[in-house]
């Protein structure tokens, strides 16, 4: 019986896949730090501020684009891992935001920055990916 290697050929080597995501995170982080550094000096020019926002957002978009590319190259098992990790991360994020909301209402928390929220969301996705991958592959 001939080997069906069509799907196997599509799977990128681990280093290449990880490298692509890693580069996108570096680009995202770099554009974010650059934009924040200038925005903290409160530039008055509206086009400059808008440009920095656009730069940071475009830098961020390289990350989901890289992850999307990786997911499209993977087989159904790896895709399932991504799906389960997303579901876990979603619930964890809701739990975090809901708890913060309740803490605010109870007077334990005065203010929560949007930056903290998206950083936590990224972190929960990362942890969920790691944990889900460990569960299915162990």
């Amino acid at each position: 019986m001939p080997l069906d290697m069509s799907e196997g050929k599509k799977v990128a080597p681990g280093a290449k896949v990880l490298g692509r995501v890693f580069l996108s995170v570096i680009l995202w982080g770099g554009t974010f730090v650059f934009a924040v550094k200038i925005l903290r000096h409160h530039p008055t020019n509206v086009w400059e501020r808008a440009g920095l926002v656009l730069l940071a957002v475009l830098g961020f978009l390289t990350w989901p684009a890289a992850v999307l590319k990786v997911v499209r190259l993977q087989n159904e098992f790896e895709r399932r891992i991504h799906l389960v990790a997303l579901a876990i991360a979603f619930v964890a994020d809701i739990l975090f935001i809901f708890t913060a909301n309740m803490l605010q209402l109870a007077g334990f928390l005065n203010w929560l920055s949007l930056q903290t929220i998206w950083l936590v969301m990224f972190f929960t996705w990362f942890v969920a990916m790691y944990a889900t991958s460990w569960y299915y592959k162990s």
């Binding site: 080997l3 290697m5 799907e7 087989n75 159904e76």
Partner: protein, 80 residues
């Protein structure tokens, strides 16, 4: 009163498979079977341990690899 068809949906169903047995008969490793059907060794292991139920395309590839029908490898069981 709960309708019968609703009860049927709520019954927990577990997919069982004979992958480990068939693989042993062919003397294939998990990695070798994975290579033949285009997935990783970990994916085959997850199917064998019941952590992951393959989709139809992968189930059909596995069935083809063993020259058997999907039904002969995968079985749906109702759990209490």
């Amino acid at each position: 009163m709960v309708r019968r068809d609703v009860c049927d949906v709520l019954v927990l169903q577990i997919m069982k498979n004979r992958l480990r047995v068939l693989r042993a008969e062919q003397n294939w490793s998990q990695a070798e079977l994975g290579m033949r059907v285009g997935v990783t060794r970990q994916a085959i292991n997850a199917i064998e341990t019941g952590k992951y139920d393959p989709g139809l395309p992968l189930a059909m590839k596995i069935a083809r690899a063993f020259a058997q029908k999907v039904d002969d490898i995968f079985e749906l069981e109702e759990s209490d």
